[in-house]
């Protein structure tokens, strides 16, 4: 049998370059029937054996293309977020109708185009699979109709009683429309009562607005100037500007209890326990007034510095400080003529009700509360322990909770109603400077949820009930004008309404604040309670990005700890990692001890937000609940805490175990006015020899400069990068094994004396080395140099030898040790950035300088036949940075901002002595110490 299938008898020789050889299409004559059947059978068997199943689905084109929507091109929409009662203007990227990244709105006064960890992380909350999916009645799913069936008769009852026994409980509210709606409710039901409770944003003793850009000398009395409050972006930008001034650089003094961002940026920092801090502030006032000599040099020099800068200095008191400290700060500001120049005192939170949780609980215990409506928040968890909110709530016949998550409060309420995320609903917000924004939705609600506006409209039995109609109606009523449509459209588009701002008068609310008696310094151990920097009072405990984001100065993730100074730890025979029982006023928690240099002596700080029981699969059962130690008369702690060691050897899930720079000085310092780098490794000169030919670049050569003078260490870059680049979270267990995946990390170091250290931090992304050690050792060429000098990863080529990581002196490479990406949760699929590959298990990944953004800019530039403009490509980290510390651009373009910064005498390469020639360089941190203190 001839078994040739080749056209053996075809004419002419076979040629490689000829696909269709002569005769190829002819049926070979010598193919037997038997052979034909054999081949067919084999083909069938192979086709069947492959067992492939094509996915079912329909691909439909748009019949009418939505305006502006081009598949593959993202759109940006302005919206706004209510964060602790303050509006933050945002710009949200939408890919084919899915919001995929949150940025700050450049036109908005509090975000100025920049953002914070919480703004960035809001995206994950939107898509969190653990959000409430349905209304719940006594823990069982119910329909909206079922809810109305019970609610409407209830409202009828309220009408009869004029709202007697009806209580509202809200957190801070940034929405003027919602405030108006609440007032409408209170008008309709005059006997109803409104209570305010916000564990992370309490009523301020003396609200003030600081103008850091005007201040030459700043004294912070435990103020979180750059922390999670409403003004961190303007403050950080203003401070960075003040720092960079060639002449008269600003100077910052910080007196604080637990190290904060303010303390890390300070030229002079002093750690004092809460009672000592009160005494310090009061002494300062006394010395200032009677001109007596201060007891110590430090205070004396500080006072002289303040007095030298009358009207150009400012004293700021922290939100969690008692009224006496605020009063002291106000008196100093008054005496130095700062009020109206560097600080404005605001009329106070008069938009909020005076009545708090205490009054509510009293009423509940007396059985006076017939109906309780809780808007957001989680009082069953985040209330002082002495109030026993949960027990009191049990006496309320009709309780209802509107919230994003089925949290502790939802569990104990009769009804829980899923709340819409701010990206799903219409709303409006007012910023700290009074400007108003309309918050527009980016996506239809993922679940059958209601916004607070919509829910109140139901309570008021109003029509319309859609968010859009409510907000638009309210705005139309509030802002009467001829061309409202234009105004509305422009306001929605810009993200800020073109309205005159209402500046606050300079009359402090706390003129009435009781100046407490001169406090005595406490001898006993003091307890300090503070909201956590990332999960705050637990409201973000469900957010895995925030849980895994290393906390400032401890670099702790997924848990909290009792922070204690080294000396205090020694005095109490405690070691880092010991598990202790903290006992305070008959309540106790168990928590591990973290020995933190820079913490004030004689006190222990515990952060709120942990020890939650109903925080979904992400946030439940982590750490210990500091609310157990919180009492309503001492919400931020007080003297008399007892510590009992009950165990040891706790393993902290931290991303950085070392404190010291080990004489390697990765962070370098300069003194203002003296441009030379102070801490330099002169013993290790930078070499330039290499055996390999130098790279040549025709087009742009991308580079980055990170200004350590500006960086406040807030980690917004880390989380922005996580959102932009589809970076997975790995969980506590994997962080314990040091397998976190962040592409840009913020290192922190304690420099100098362990008892009074200088606190430093340094963001570290990939350096994109010119002589990259990683490229040399990859056996498959999966990490290569590209034509613009980027060091790029080819994920599909990577076999996972991890040699590149071993050879990376900066250890910025991240490896998928396991399958870290969740590709099962449907909502998380919507969240991903479609322009960034989702990495599989077993491949290496790292910072790409946001290659996808470079590509997008390159395509635009090529279409317009021009070069990429300076500032056109902004990586996610640089875009988010509230302090404008990260600058990116073409280092070959002498006109670029990054090239100019690299010319600075402060510019240095990290580990430059290794001849890696990093593209990412640093500007040494500028210090401006008071020469009198030295």
């Amino acid at each position: 049998m001839s078994d040739s299938l080749s056209p053996a008898n075809s004419e002419g020789p076979l040629r490689d370059d000829d696909e269709f050889v002569p005769g190829a299409s002819e049926w070979p004559e010598d193919l037997s029937r038997r052979r034909f059947l054999q081949v067919m059978a084999a083909s069938l068997a192979l086709a069947g054996g492959a067992c492939t199943r094509l996915p079912h689905g329909e691909i439909l084109p748009y019949i009418r293309q939505p305006e502006l929507l081009i598949p593959g091109k993202p759109l940006y929409f302005a919206t706004a977020m209510d964060f602790g009662g303050v509006g933050h203007g945002l710009l949200v990227r939408s890919n084919e109708g899915r919001p995929t990244k949150i940025e700050g709105n450049p036109d908005h006064p509090t975000s100025l185009g920049r953002s914070s960890v919480h703004a960035q992380a809001a995206l994950l909350t939107l898509y969190d699979p653990a959000r409430s999916h349905a209304a719940m009645k006594l823990g069982h799913p119910e329909t909206w109709e079922g809810l109305l069936g019970e609610l409407l008769p209830e409202i009828e009852k309220w009408k009869e009683s004029a709202g007697a026994g009806v209580h509202l409980l809200t957190q801070r509210i940034a929405s003027p429309t919602l405030l108006a709606q609440v007032h409408q409710f209170l008008t309709k039901f005059p006997k109803a009562q409104w209570h305010f409770h916000d564990a992370a944003f309490p009523r301020s003793p003396m609200p003030a607005k600081v103008r850091l850009e005007q201040a030459q000398v700043v004294l912070s009395l435990d103020a979180e100037l750059f922390g999670y409050g409403g003004a961190n972006v303007p403050n950080a930008l203003a401070f960075a500007k003040g720092r960079r001034r060639e002449e008269n650089a600003a100077r910052l003094y910080a007196v604080e209890v637990t190290p904060t961002f303010t303390g890390t940026m300070a030229d002079h920092r002093r750690a004092l326990s809460p009672s000592a801090l009160v005494k310090f502030a009061q002494d300062l006032v006394v010395t200032l007034h009677d001109g007596s000599k201060s007891s110590d040099n430090w205070s004396a020099a500080l006072l002289r510095d303040l007095q030298k800068h009358k009207g150009q200095c400012v004293v700021v008191a922290g939100e969690f400080q008692p009224p006496s400290v605020h009063e002291a700060a106000r008196q100093i500001n008054e005496a130095l003529g700062n009020i109206g120049k560097t600080i404005d005192y605001l009329p106070g939170d008069d938009s909020l009700p005076r009545s708090g949780l205490q009054e509510l609980v009293t009423a509940m215990q007396r059985g006076e509360v017939g109906a309780l409506l809780i808007f957001g928040g989680n009082p069953a968890y985040d209330s002082p322990v002495d109030l026993s909110f949960g027990e009191a709530l049990a006496k309320v016949p009709f309780s209802m909770h509107l919230g994003l998550y089925p949290n502790e409060t939802a569990q104990v309420c009769r009804w829980h109603l899923p709340e819409s995320h701010f990206l799903e609903t219409w709303s409006d917000v007012r910023a700290s400077d009074g400007s108003e924004s309309i918050a527009q939705p980016l996506i239809e609600p993922l679940y059958p949820s209601k916004s607070a506006h919509e829910f109140v409209a139901v309570l008021l039995e109003q029509v319309p009930t859609t968010g859009y109609d409510i907000i638009r109606g309210a705005w139309e009523a509030r802002h009467k004008m001829d061309n409202f449509e234009n105004f509305w459209r422009k306001s929605v588009h810009d993200g800020v309404a073109a309205l005159p701002k209402t500046p606050g008068p300079n009359t402090p609310e706390a003129a009435t604040a009781s100046a407490e008696k001169a406090a005595a310094e406490s001898k006993s151990l003091e307890l300090v309670i503070r909201p956590d920097a990332h999960v705050l009072d637990g409201r973000f405990a469900e957010n895995a990005w925030l849980q895994e984001l290393p906390k400032p100065l401890t670099q702790l993730t997924w848990e909290n700890a009792a922070l204690i100074a080294p000396q205090t730890a020694r005095a109490n025979h405690l070691e880092h990692g010991d598990v202790v029982e903290l006992r305070y006023r008959d309540h106790a928690i168990r928590t591990p001890v973290w020995v933190l240099p820079g913490q004030a002596e004689g006190c222990i700080t515990v952060h709120l937000g942990y020890g939650r029981n109903y925080a979904g699969p992400v946030g439940s059962g982590l750490g210990s609940n500091a609310f157990t130690l919180q009492t309503s008369d001492a919400p931020w702690g007080g003297p008399g805490v007892e510590v009992h060691k009950i165990g040891g050897g706790h393993r902290f899930s931290t991303t950085q175990s070392e404190r010291s720079m080990e004489d390697r000085d990765p962070v370098r310092l300069v003194t203002a006015g003296k441009p030379a780098v102070e801490i330099a490794r002169e013993d290790l000169p930078e070499t330039t020899e290499t055996l390999y030919p130098k790279w040549k670049y025709a087009g742009p050569a991308w580079g980055m400069v990170i200004d350590l003078s500006a960086c406040i260490g807030c980690s917004a870059c880390t989380i922005a990068c996580q959102a932009e680049n589809n970076i997975p979270v790995v969980g506590r267990e994997q962080v314990l094994r040091r397998r976190e995946m962040h592409w840009i990390r913020v290192d922190r170091y304690f420099d100098g004396d362990n008892n009074a250290p200088r606190l430093l931090h340094q963001p570290v992304p990939c350096m994109h080395c010119e002589n990259a050690p990683c490229e040399l050792v990859c056996p498959v060429g999966a990490t290569v140099h590209d034509h613009e000098g980027l060091n790029v990863m080819v994920y599909n080529r990577c076999v996972g030898t991890r040699y590149c990581s071993n050879n990376c002196p900066y250890k910025v490479r991240r490896f998928n040790f396991l399958k870290f990406n969740d590709d099962h949760s449907e909502t998380l699929k919507l969240m991903r950035n479609p322009n960034v590959s989702v990495r599989m298990r077993g491949v290496m990944e790292k910072c790409t300088y946001c290659l996808q953004r470079i590509s997008a800019a390159r395509i635009d530039a090529e279409k317009e036949k021009r070069k990429i403009r300076d500032g056109e490509v902004i990586p996610a980290c640089a875009q988010a940075c509230p302090a404008d510390a990260i600058v990116f651009g073409d280092i070959l373009d002498p006109a670029s901002r990054v090239a100019a910064m690299k010319e600075s005498p402060r510019n240095y390469s990290l580990l430059g002595e290794l001849n890696t020639k990093p593209r990412t360089t640093y500007l040494a941190r500028m210090q401006n110490p008071n020469p009198e203190i030295g």
Partner: protein, 442 residues
């Protein structure tokens, strides 16, 4: 020990009887069963690894290489003694090698087989291991030749191939002897297939001798090259503790050192069990110990020069590394290394110890441990604290790390037990030749 005069006949009889006539004892079954449990454990460990990913091991961000690389270097080092004994000593006319070369070659082969598992398994995506091979693919992609890992692929695969061929060529005349002496038909057939039609003609012998010599010549540079290339995996990197030009000779010496230790670890019990004390005599133990002593001193010189260079270079990272090894969190590793590899082998200066099986056995075990610790020190302790203190971390082997390591030991011994049961572990033909040439007892 009483020495009997050996003739060709008695030698063939005695040595083939170990395989053909000696009844399979319960002890052998027990040992095989224990070793095979290790193989099963290895199977489980590898299955879990492939199912979940390399994250089941303890490796992490600063320490991205752990047990896999430690074990790889350790096993491949052990292999070196076999090649050294059979090839280099053959070329140097060291006739004493004859009694032990078959055994040590088998050891080489099995050790390299165990070693070769690790570079495959440690890949994040082992199913695309072939990206490291230069094969014509449609994307026209090629390995990245500057990476020592590519050199490794060639070094190790060449080494394994040459070792296998060399071992097998040496086996051919003995397989023929086995074929001739076997009584049962199917055994005859099996050995006959292996013997490739060997008839013992002069022509066969002449070609055999030539092929064997040529292969010995081919294998000799491999002894030096393989571990030199393996050492370059480290030496090419910028990492303090790896970035060192001394690595190639230092690794080769270490390999032979550990290989001889493993030879002694295996030979001492085997010669006892199979009553081969007259064939593998005290002289063999003595000579092997001397090689161990010499290479051990070279290794000591390597350690000393590393520490001296750390001080002399005045390079802070190197200085820190040296101190960190001695006093850092992994201090027991350094001290174990120094004790087992430098201090303990000094006992071999005494002839009494060199010829006493039990102390020698203990010393060889300690050297095996010491050499494993040395590789742990190089791989893990260098990685865990590199340049930036912020990224310092620690590494601890997980249960899967240990299971994989223990599993390869099980695999190694399983193969070893099967080898001694199924093949002549002493080269019969060569001993016969030697007996005739020397006309006296071995």
């Amino acid at each position: 020990m009483p020495t009997t005069v050996q003739t060709c006949e008695t030698l063939s009889e005695r040595l083939s009887a170990v395989v053909l006539k000696r009844p399979t004892k319960l002890g052998w079954f027990t040992c095989l069963a224990i070793s095979f449990t290790g193989v099963l454990m290895l199977n489980v460990a590898i299955s879990w690894l492939l199912l979940r990913g390399v994250g089941v091991w303890g490796i992490n961000e600063p320490v991205a290489w752990g047990f896999a690389i430690v074990n790889f270097v350790w096993w491949i080092g052990i292999g070196h003694a076999g090649t050294f004994i059979s090839a280099i000593l053959l070329l140097l006319h060291q006739h004493w090698r004859t009694s032990i070369n078959r055994f040590t070659e088998a050891m080489t082969l099995f050790a390299v087989a165990c070693a070769a598992l690790f570079p495959l398994l440690h890949l994040g995506r082992p199913w695309v291991f072939y990206f490291l091979l230069p094969y014509p693919d449609t994307m026209r992609l090629w390995p990245q030749w500057r990476s020592p890992l590519v050199w490794d692929v060639f070094a190790v695969s060449t080494y394994f191939t040459v070792s296998l061929v060399y071992w097998y060529i040496g086996l051919v005349p003995d397989l023929a002897t086995m074929r001739d002496r076997a009584t049962r038909r199917w055994i005859k057939v099996l050995y006959g297939i292996g013997a490739l039609g060997w008839r013992g003609s002069a022509k066969h012998w002449a070609r055999y001798e030539m092929a064997y010599l040529l292969l010995a010549g081919l294998a000799t540079p491999l002894v030096l090259s393989v571990h030199s290339v393996v050492s370059l995996d480290f030496a090419v990197a910028v990492l303090p503790g790896w970035h060192s030009t001394i690595f190639p000779p230092y690794f080769v010496a270490g390999a032979i050192f550990s290989g001889f230790a493993m030879v002694l670890t295996l030979l001492i019990p085997f010669r006892k069990i199979y009553k081969l004390e007259d064939v593998i005599s005290e002289r063999h133990l003595d000579l092997a110990s001397k090689v161990m002593l010499a290479t051990g001193l070279m290794v000591a010189l390597g350690y000393a020069s590393e520490h001296w260079m750390a001080w002399y270079s005045d390079e802070p990272n190197e200085e820190f590394l040296a101190l960190n090894r001695m006093l850092g969190p992994y201090w027991p590793v350094w001290w174990t290394t120094m004790t087992c590899n430098i201090l303990v082998p000094q006992l071999l200066w005494w002839r009494r110890i060199r010829t006493s099986p039990l102390p020698l056995f203990i010393i060889s075990l300690l050297v095996n441990v010491g050499m494993w610790a040395e590789r742990y020190m190089i791989v893990v302790v260098s990685l865990h604290r590199d340049f930036l203190p912020s990224s310092w971390g620690k590494f601890h082997g997980t249960v899967w790390d240990w299971a994989t390591f223990g599993g390869t030991i099980g695999l190694f011994f399983t193969l070893m037990f099967l080898f001694v049961r199924l093949l002549p572990m002493i080269p019969i033909a060569e001993l016969r030749k030697q007996t005739v040439e020397e006309g006296k007892e071995v």
